[in-house]
C-alpha cells in the first residue's frame, strides 16, 4: 500500500509512504518495545514531557519505517535523533549528552548529504528509483555515497569506532529509555542498513568484516566493564555487529531480520530486568550487587532465560537466529568471518556469566541489599511475555519463517523453505527446535527425578558463609563477591590487551581538541583588532582580485 504525498510537498519533490512487509516487521518491533516498556512506566515519577517526547519519538520511528522516500526517512531520522537527545537529557550528564548530539547530528547530516547525492542523479527521493540512481553515479561518487550512508548508520548502531557516545548514553539514560535505545533505536540503524545499503548495492564484504570486528572488539570491551548497563550496551553493539555482518553477505537478510527480532526481545528482557534490580537496590555496578537470587527468584529465572538467549544457546530463541546467521556465512563461504563470529559468540559467554553472577549469584556485596524484594508485577509481566516469546521461538524456530519469507519475496531474495513450525531450514542445514527442546526438557526432568530419589540427602548450608574456604571462617568483612574482577586478567594477554586497552575515545578527544583550537583561531580573528581585520580583508580582496583576473 503506497500513499503519495506529493500534493503537500514543495517544488517537485515527490513524497510517499508505503506499508511494506519489511516496514511492518520493524513496526512490530517498535510496538513490542513500547508495549512492554509501558508496563514499567508507573513505577517511575516521570515528567509529563517525557511522555510527550516519547510520543513524538514513536511517531518519528513510524515515519522512518513507513517512509517510501529518502526525504521522509531523513525527517524521521533527524526528529528521532533530536527527540532522543531530549529524552536523554532527563538523566544524562552534560558531557555525554554533548557527545551524543555531536554524533547524532553528524550521522543525520551525513545521511542528508547522501540522500542529496541520490537526489541529484535522478531528481527523485523515492526508494524505487534509488537503485538506478546509485548505478548512475560515478564510481568515486558511489563510494563516497556509501561511506556517508555507512557512517550515518554506524553511528546509530554504535559500530566499534563510532560507539564513543553509545556506551555512556546507555549507561546514564533512564532505565526505561536505555531499554528503548537498545531495543528499538539501534534497530532503526538495521532498518536503514537494509533500506539504504542492502537494497541499493551488491553485498559488501567490507560490511561483513566491519561487523565481525565490531562484535569481537565490543565483546572484549564488555568483559572489562563494571557497570551492568555498560556491559549490556557493549553487548548490544556486539549483537548488532552480527546483524551487520550477515547483511554484508548475500542472502543474509533472513538471519538479520530474525536476529533483530530476537535481539529486540532479549534486550528488552534484560534491560527491564536490570531496571528492576536498579529500582529495588539503587545500584548498577557488579561490584555493588550480588547474591540477589533468593531475594528476587523470579527475576533471576527471567534473567537466566535472557542470558541463555543472548548466548545463543540451543533450546531457546537465540540459537535460531544465530543458526541462520552461521548458515548464511557458511553458504557464502566466508569461513574466516564465520569463525570470527563464532569466536565472538564464544567470548560472550564470559560477560554473559558475569551478568548473571555479578547481579544474582555470589554474595551480596553490601548490607543494603537486604531490603531487596522481588520486583512488582509491572516489572515481571513484560518479562514473562518476552520470555514466552523467546522460549516459543526456541521451540518453534520456524514460526516466523512465513512472515520473513514474505519480506524476502518482496525484496526478491531467495526464501527459506518451510515444513512445520518446529523445524528451521536454512540453505545449509536444518534443526528441529521442538526435538531439541523436548529432549533437553525430558532429560532434565528425568535427571531431577533420579537425583532427588538418591539415597544421599542434600542438606542446606547453615548460612551463606558456610563455604569451603581453606578452613577459614569468612564473615561480612571478607570480600567474597568475585563479580567485579571477572575477566580482568584478559588484559594480560598480549593480543587481547591491544583490543581492551586501546580506545577510539583518544582519537575523538584529539579531534575535538584540534577542532576547538582551530575554532579558537577563527574566534581570535573575529575578536581581533579592527586594523588587523581591515588588513586581512584587504589581503583577501587583493587575492580575490588576482584570482578573478586570472
Amino acid at each position: 500500500m503506497m500513499i503519495n504525498l506529493s500534493n503537500y510537498a514543495l517544488g517537485h519533490i515527490v513524497l510517499a509512504l508505503e506499508m511494506s512487509h519489511l516496514a511492518n516487521f520493524f513496526a512490530v518491533l517498535i510496538l513490542l518495545s513500547m508495549g512492554t516498556l509501558l508496563f514499567l512506566v508507573k513505577n517511575y515519577a516521570l515528567p509529563k514531557s517525557f511522555y510527550a517526547l516519547s510520543a513524538l519519538l514513536s511517531t518519528s520511528l513510524f515515519l522512518i519505517v513507513y517512509a517510501a522516500d529518502y526525504l521522509l526517512f531523513f525527517i524521521g531520522w533527524e526528529v528521532m535523533s533530536i527527540t532522543t537527545y531530549f529524552l536523554l537529557s532527563f538523566s544524562v550528564s552534560q558531557k555525554t549528552l554533548h557527545k551524543y548530539i555531536i554524533f547524532a547530528m553528524s550521522s543525520a547530516l551525513a545521511l542528508f548529504i547522501a540522500i542529496l547525492m541520490i537526489y541529484s542523479t535522478q531528481q527523485s527521493f523515492l526508494y524505487s528509483d534509488a537503485r538506478e540512481s546509485f548505478e548512475l553515479m560515478g564510481e568515486f561518487q558511489g563510494v563516497f555515497f556509501l561511506v556517508l550512508i555507512l557512517f550515518a548508520i554506524f553511528v546509530k548502531l554504535g559500530v566499534i569506532g563510532f560507539h564513543y557516545w553509545l556506551v555512556d548514553a546507555y549507561e546514564e539514560a533512564h532505565d526505561i529509555f536505555t531499554a528503548f535505545l537498545s531495543a528499538v533505536l539501534s534497530k532503526m540503524g538495521v532498518y536503514a542498513l537494509i533500506i539504504l545499503v542492502v537494497k541499493v548495492t551488491q553485498p559488501m564484504l567490507a560490511l561483513a568484516i566491519i561487523g565481525v570486528m565490531t562484535s569481537i572488539i565490543a565483546t572484549f570491551k564488555a568483559i572489562q566493564e563494571d557497570s551492568v548497563k555498560r556491559v549490556l550496551a557493549y553487548s548490544s553493539i556486539a549483537q548488532l555487529g552480527y546483524i551487520v555482518t550477515v547483511l554484508g553477505v548475500a542472502d543474509g537478510m533472513s538471519g538479520a531480520l530474525y536476529h533483530s527480532l530476537i535481539h529486540t526481545a532479549v534486550k528488552l528482557l534484560l534491560f527491564i530486568n536490570i531496571a528492576g534490580v536498579i529500582y529495588m537496590t539503587g545500584r548498577d555496578k557488579f561490584s555493588q550487587l550480588g547474591g540477589l537470587i533468593y531475594k528476587m527468584p523470579q527475576s533471576f529465572v527471567l534473567l537466566l532465560i535472557g542470558i541463555i538467549v543472548l548466548a545463543g544457546m540451543p533450546p531457546l530463541g537465540g540459537f535460531s537466529s544465530k543458526f541462520l546467521i552461521y548458515s548464511a556465512l557458511l553458504d557464502t563461504k566466508y569461513l574466516l568471518l564465520l569463525s570470527g563470529v563464532m569466536f565472538s559468540s564464544a567470548s560472550a559467554f564470559l560477560y554473559i556469566y558475569k551478568l548473571i553472577y555479578g547481579v544474582y549469584l555470589g554474595h551480596p556485596s553490601h548490607k543494603k541489599l537486604e531490603s531487596a524484594k522481588e520486583v512488582s508485577l509491572s516489572f515481571l509481566l513484560p518479562q514473562y511475555l518476552l520470555a514466552f516469546i523467546l522460549i516459543t521461538l526456541g521451540t518453534f524456530p520456524a514460526l516466523i519463517v512465513p512472515y520473513i519469507n514474505e519480506i524476502l519475496l518482496e525484496s526478491s531474495l531467495t526464501t527459506l523453505s518451510f515444513t512445520h513450525a518446529g523445524e528451521l531450514i536454512s540453505a545449509f542445514a536444518q534443526f528441529n527446535g521442538l526435538i531439541v527442546m523436548s529432549a533437553f526438557g525430558t532429560i532434565f526432568v528425568l535427571v531431577v527425578i533420579f537425583f532427588v530419589s538418591t539415597r544421599s540427602k542434600a542438606k542446606e548450608a547453615k548460612n551463606r558463609f558456610d563455604i569451603a574456604y581453606c578452613g577459614e571462617e569468612p564473615d561480612e568483612s571478607t570480600h567474597l563477591h568475585y563479580g567485579y574482577s571477572m575477566g580482568k586478567e584478559l588484559a594480560r594477554v598480549g593480543i587481547l590487551r591491544a583490543i581492551i586497552k586501546n580506545s577510539s575515545s583518544h582519537f575523538y578527544e584529539y579531534l575535538g581538541k584540534q577542532t576547538l583550537s582551530f575554532a579558537e583561531l577563527f574566534r581570535k580573528i573575529y575578536s581581533g583588532k579592527l586594523s588587523v581585520n581591515f588588513n586581512i580583508a584587504i589581503l583577501f580582496l587583493l587575492l580575490l582580485l588576482w584570482g578573478s583576473l586570472r
Binding site: E460, A461, F465, A468, C470
Partner: protein, 205 residues
C-alpha cells in the same frame, strides 16, 4: 610367582578383601564402595605432613588402594591430623571437619595426637585429640613412615568395610562434650555464630 611390588599389592588387597561380616547386602555393597574409594583432604596440619607426599606419590602410590587426595573438605572422606596440633590449627581442623560430608573419618598420626608427645607441657598445643574430635585410627611413630600410614589406611578401610568406622556418628551424638572441650581451649566462639541473620536462606530442597 609374583614378587616385589606386585606381591606387596596383592597382599595388601588380599588383606582388604579378606574381611567378612554379617551385614545386609545393601550395607555390604555400600561399605565396599566406601572403602574402595577414599578421598583424603590435602591438609597438612602438623610436622607429619611431610610424610604424606611420598605416601600419595609414585614411591608408595596410595592410589592403588583407591586412596587419593582431595582439595576441599566438601569432597574429602578422611582428614589426617598429622602430629601435634596447635590451638590455631585446631580451630581450622574443627571447621574443616564440620564441613566434610558424612560419613567422614579422622586419621591421627604420631604420638602427639595421643598424649601430646614431646609437646606434653606446651602452653599452645592440645594434648589429646580424642577430646576434641573423634579419631578413627591412630598411626603411631614419630613420625610414622609412609608404610605405616598406608597400613593405617588399610586398617581404616577394613573398619569401614565392616561398617565399624563410625566416628562421625559419635561426634554427632556427643557433640556437647566435644564442643565443651573445644570451647575450653578456643574460647566461646568455636563454630562461627554469625550475627548476620539477615541473610538466611528460606526453604531449599
Amino acid at each position: 610367582m609374583e614378587e616385589g611390588f606386585l606381591l606387596e599389592q596383592k597382599t595388601l588387597e588380599g588383606d582388604l578383601n579378606s574381611e567378612t561380616s554379617h551385614q545386609s547386602s545393601v550395607d555390604f555393597l555400600m561399605n565396599w564402595f566406601r572403602k574402595r574409594s577414599i578421598f583424603v583432604l590435602a591438609y597438612g596440619t602438623g610436622c607429619g605432613a611431610i610424610e604424606m607426599p611420598p605416601t600419595f606419590t609414585s614411591r608408595y602410590d596410595a592410589e592403588r588402594l583407591g586412596i587419593r587426595g582431595a582439595a576441599t573438605p566438601r569432597q574429602a572422606d578422611v582428614i589426617i591430623v598429622s602430629g601435634y596440633c596447635s590451638y590455631k590449627t585446631l580451630r581450622r581442623i574443627i571447621r574443616t571437619y564440620e564441613q566434610m560430608s558424612n560419613p567422614k573419618y579422622v586419621l591421627a598420626l604420631g604420638s602427639c595426637t595421643v598424649n601430646g608427645g614431646m609437646y606434653w607441657d606446651s602452653y599452645n598445643t592440645i594434648k589429646k585429640l580424642e577430646d576434641y574430635l573423634p579419631v578413627d585410627m591412630y598411626v603411631n611413630g614419630c613420625m610414622p613412615r609412609p608404610e605405616s600410614i598406608l597400613e593405617g589406611f588399610i586398617e581404616l578401610q577394613k573398619e569401614i568395610g565392616a561398617g565399624k568406622a563410625s566416628s562421625w556418628q559419635k561426634y554427632e551424638e556427643n557433640h556437647e562434650f566435644y564442643r565443651k572441650n573445644q570451647e575450653a581451649v578456643l574460647g566461646e566462639k568455636v563454630e562461627p555464630s554469625y550475627e548476620a541473620d539477615w541473610y538466611l536462606y528460606e526453604g531449599g530442597l
